[in-house]
Amino acid sequence: MKFRKIGLMALASLFVASACGGAPAAPTAAPAAKATDAPKPAATAAPAAGDVVTIEYWQYNFQARIDAMNELIKQFEAQNPGIKVVHNSEIPYDNFLDKIAASAPAGVGPDVATMFNGWVPSWVNAGYLVPLPEKDFPPADIEKNFTSMVQGTKFQGKYWALPTAVRSLALFWNKDMFKAAGLDPEKPPATLDEFVDYAKKLTKTEGGKITQEGFAVEMNGQAHQWFREILTRQFGQIPFSADNKTLNYGSATACNAWKWLTKFETDYKTGSNDLFDGATTAFTNGKLALHIDGSFRLGALAKAKDLNFGVATLPTKDGINANFGSFWTHGITKKGAADPKRLEAAVKFLKFITSPAAGTLWVKTTGELPAQLTAAADPTLQSDPKLGAFAKAMGYSYATFFVDETKQRKNLIDAFDAVRLQNAEPCAALADAVKKDQALYDEFWAKNK
């Protein structure tokens, strides 16, 4: 009897404890509430200035981009005294999607958010984004003024997001190694045939072990993009159907590109991603001569003081140029569109941060290239010894319509591993990977008719 009483008391106090436990939820909601409440005091303090609209902008934590965006916001607010932009850049990359996901049901979070181009379909699918208003962002103007990559984010016939800047790929080469191998250090391989030839010449072995790599396929780096979007085109295969529903990079024609790529490790033995903790690390430490990487690598390579390297446009085949682009792009959320005043402010802000001027500011701070073609065509940028190679590719760069970038990358990594570790037949391994990719697309399109 006594015990039951105590048990009841314990239960009662548990409820009290749980009520207390629930309380701390309030402060976490508070900052968001503060953001929307902010206009009120401003309005009463300075009624002449009219209402100040506050919008929230989110991007993940990356210092160069934060600096660039802070500068853009400063300029934007100076031009638009009626709008205040709250910049949230505290979220680490790994948690970015989680935080966005946690904010959405609570009705808080960004009015304008930056997402990876590959995320657009799933964000649209979730009902998180609103289409860019066509009167403010006419599709014809977008297609005329922006790099061709942006068209890869067109979804359900509409544009949902626009970038400030984009990244593309280029060939990095180590000039000192070229000299040591008797090659002209200012003349990187221009064609795929030359590329193979140079990679062989630049490989050094000692007692059966590779001590200097000519070229190593880094499938978990940029090699899968190089293959999927670039090499396939150069070997005569358009990798995706126009509606992005059918994948063609597993075809016999595409497999010629695949075989060309796998041979570096299986036949020519010019290097391996297993050596020197990966190809990027190997190139940074002067152990690898030829490397395919993105403009985002320039920052890290600038810190490698002893590295004497050049950057050139990707090698061509039969005169065919192609490049792969990826970018972070800004969209307006449902929350941002819920209130006409905020939507108006969000549209103004989006126009400002995607302007050619914003792109020019951005490239100086981040090394990413302006998404607007007029800014990318700037002669000083085009002739820049490092950035020029990336800028030149703007006109022929393709952004892949990814359904699940992580899995699609993994499928090609596995196909490549099957070839090099299990002696699998290259075309069969590739076909298997593309079959898995196709299943992802079928599932995706079944949900997004």
Binding site: K2, I6, M9, A10, S13, L14, A17, S18, G21, L97, D98, I100, A101, A102, A104, P105, S122, W123, N125, A126, G127, Y128, K209, N220, D274, L275, D277, G278, D404, T406, K407, K410, I413, D414, D417, A418, L421, Q422
Partner: protein, 299 residues
């Protein structure tokens, strides 16, 4: 209220804190994941509709596909348990017996064996990753000294899983040793004396006194280590390139799959269904172990 009643009330009051912890930090998320496993759970979407057992159907379909990463994850997880747990228990018991029989430097040895256990698993994994490197890794340098060919360890499809297991066994060894030592010291010395007087050999003593009396400790450790291997994640994500459980899914685990599906591909429903399946697998294995390993003992 008597003094005794008050004491009991206080005891319950203090117990409420761990109880609240378990309810809100442990049970609530578990129940939440059960709920998620029944939904098409797009984290960004406002509506997350119930889809019945669709996620589970997909999980079991994938388990049925011999090349699917989920199937590989289950196979590997069981391999980790079957290879790792016995090796860990035997090694730990052996070392504990040795430590129990020495008197000098005993504390130092114990500290040495226990240090890996208190070290961060992430740090341990990255150090081992360097040790395992092909060509220029420490282990291959040692092999080279003996004129043995260098091995690819984590980069080889067949060596990768044992290599990962070795790291986990090495790290968890200290904990098992300490528990065994405590168990060994709880065995009354008089039993050993009586046995020696009766002329029992060392092996007889070990078999008929030490092992039976250590049974509760062995069961406890077997269950604990099995659960630890079933939930393996940190070591694999840090030891493998880009944490993908490769090469060719040869080291991936169920929990790593949960993480990749849930937070890499945003398939929260599928990931939750996998969690629920793992939950029942762990429960089942634990119950079986308790039933068959546990033996009642009368002194």
């Amino acid at each position: 209220m008597s003094l005794n009643t008050r004491r009991v009330i206080w005891a319950y009051a203090f117990l409420l804190i761990p109880l609240a912890f378990f309810l809100f930090i442990r049970f609530a998320p578990t129940l939440f994941s059960f709920d998620v496993s029944l939904r098409a759970f797009n984290p960004l979407a406002e509506v997350k509709p119930y889809v019945g057992l669709e996620n589970f159907a997909k999980v079991f379909k994938d388990i049925g596909d011999p090349t699917h990463p989920t199937r590989k994850a289950f196979e590997n997880t069981f391999k980790y348990v079957l290879i790792g747990t016995p090796i860990q228990l035997v090694l730990a018991l052996g070392i504990a017996l040795l430590l129990n029989s020495i008197t000098r430097f005993r504390t130092i040895f114990r500290v040495i064996y226990f240090i890996p256990f208190v070290t961060s698993a992430v740090a341990v994994a990255w150090v081992w990753r360097a040790l395992y490197m092909p060509d220029f890794g420490f282990l291959n340098l040692v092999l080279g000294l003996f004129g043995l060919p260098s091995q690819r360890f984590l980069l080889d499809i067949n060596q990768s899983l044992p290599s990962v297991t070795a790291v986990v066994v090495w790290q968890g060894l200290g904990f098992a040793i300490i528990i065994f030592l405590a168990g060994l010291q709880a065995i009354p010395e008089t039993f050993y004396e009586a046995a020696r007087v009766d002329g029992a050999s060392r092996w007889d003593i070990f078999r008929h006194i030490t092992v039976p009396l250590l049974n509760p400790t062995i069961v406890y450790l077997a269950v604990l280590q099995t659960i630890a291997f079933l939930r393996m994640f940190t070591e694999v994500i840090n030891l493998t390139r880009q944490g993908d459980g490769g090469p060719l899914n040869s080291t991936t685990t169920v929990v790593l799959r949960v993480y990749r599906e849930g937070f890499g591909s945003q398939n929260m429903g599928y990931a939750a269904a996998l969690t629920v399946v793992l939950f029942f697998v762990i429960m089942l294995i634990t119950l079986v172990q308790m039933k068959f390993l546990q033996r009642r003992f009368e002194y």
